[in-house]
Symmetry: C2
Subunit: 255 residues, 2 copies
């Protein structure tokens, strides 16, 4: 089956309190698309954070001593660093221009996913505003999926994605940060291979592969296409969580 | 524009010396697909390696002292480890069951990409055979692209992909290991953001995002769908190399 990744045009600028499921269903209609069972909606993190009002004005933030330390190393705004630390469990690496952390929700990323570009505050324009990741992106995804089901009776998956840098390779790629219905991992371990004489050992990071595909179509999310519809995802939908995709510390050779 | 990732069915078991461009063009015809300019063909590494005869029989390999050392740590076959070391520039991590290296071609991966499962030797069935990555996957991709152009006059991109594990996250994802015409990175640095007051700093790992999408459709490559056709890649094709995607050591905090 072929995989189709369809950009949904016409999503307006999202504001705090907006109900994303309604906005997306309206946009789908305007795009002459109707949802089918097993479809997946992929949302850029930014619109979810905006709808949830995850804006913070830096002028309200008082940096800790630790934040001043990391700000000195990174040469970033200590108030920004303070928010990064509050959103994180631990700091993995800190260098000029870069702070890599373990986010509260478990995944590793730069700046705890806090976004400084393209952020206008909830009530106007200012460079002082930043945008945190959703409080709990799995939960955000589930709410949207359940609202879509209530309104359409369609059993779809919803995934929230962000762009992350990587060890070893240049360039950011889309990765999942919240899942509802989309399997994070597909476990092929123990299945016989093509010739039947060796058991396979692969777990596929299926949600991240899909996130990358969606990210490609979004380009720079928030530049107009923060929602895409995926049709033809090759694995059955099931209950899931981003926690599946997080490598336990004791299995991680690169912390 | 929507992204379509189309599996090409009917690719036969590939043998040393097979001309992949001919086999793929024939399969496209049988799938009622005709190539268009800007299409991209994505190939699983395994069929390229097989066509290039990159089989090695372990019984012909004499392990070095170093190979015995790493074999002891990993509890892998010393002959296999010897091949891993020959295919690598350096060893990043070595633990029970795992050896992560910098491959000759620059990228970081487990086992130097050498495959032990699903490998039958060129002349029959044996567990002693392994399959190395293509000697130079960029060059392999270019040859196929140029042959396709000669036969169809279509200007397409060709990409060779493999599945890699990752730091921090569970599950393998498709990544590019050889590029012809497909941009590895798309550089958005210096472009103004949506509100025009901040310059963006993003480089998108576009080829890897596409590799992940293709990998999703291939499932476990070699289980029947080692070639996919991509239509609607959102960036213009240009000359490229996998080297774009390799993070220089001095910019890599996770070596």
């Amino acid at each position: 089956m072929s995989l189709q990744v369809l950009p949904i045009s016409g999503i307006p600028e999202i504001k705090t309190g907006d109900v994303l499921s309604e906005i997306i269903l309206k946009a789908l209609e305007e795009n002459n698309l109707s949802l089918q069972d097993e479809d997946i909606l992929v949302l850029a993190q930014k619109i979810v954070s905006k709808a949830e009002g995850r804006f913070v004005n830096l002028t309200t933030v008082t940096p800790s001593a630790k934040a001043y330390e990391y700000a000195e190393i990174t040469q970033k705004d200590p108030r920004f660093i303070e928010l990064v630390l509050r959103e994180s469990r631990s700091v993995l690496r800190c260098r000029l221009g870069t702070i890599i952390v373990e986010h509260r929700n478990g995944f590793v990323c730069a700046n705890a996913g806090i976004d400084h570009s393209n952020v206008r505050g909830p009530w106007g324009n200012s460079e002082d505003w930043v945008l945190l990741l959703p409080e709990d992106a799995d939960s955000s995804a589930r709410v949207i999926r359940d609202q879509v089901f209530q309104k359409t009776q369609k059993r779809i998956g919803v995934m929230i994605i962000d762009s992350h840098g990587r060890a070893w390779r240049m360039g950011t790629v889309g990765v999942a940060i919240g899942l509802a219905g989309v399997p994070g991992l597909v476990d092929l371990r123990g299945k016989p291979d093509l010739y039947g004489y060796r058991l396979r050992i692969t777990m596929i990071g299926a949600a991240d592969e899909l996130a990358a595909a969606a990210s490609l179509v979004m380009g720079q999310a928030d530049e107009g296409t923060p929602v895409v519809l995926v049709r033809g995802f090759p694995y059955p939908l099931r209950e899931s969580s981003i926690q599946e995709l997080i490598r336990p510390k004791e299995l991680d050779l690169f912390r």
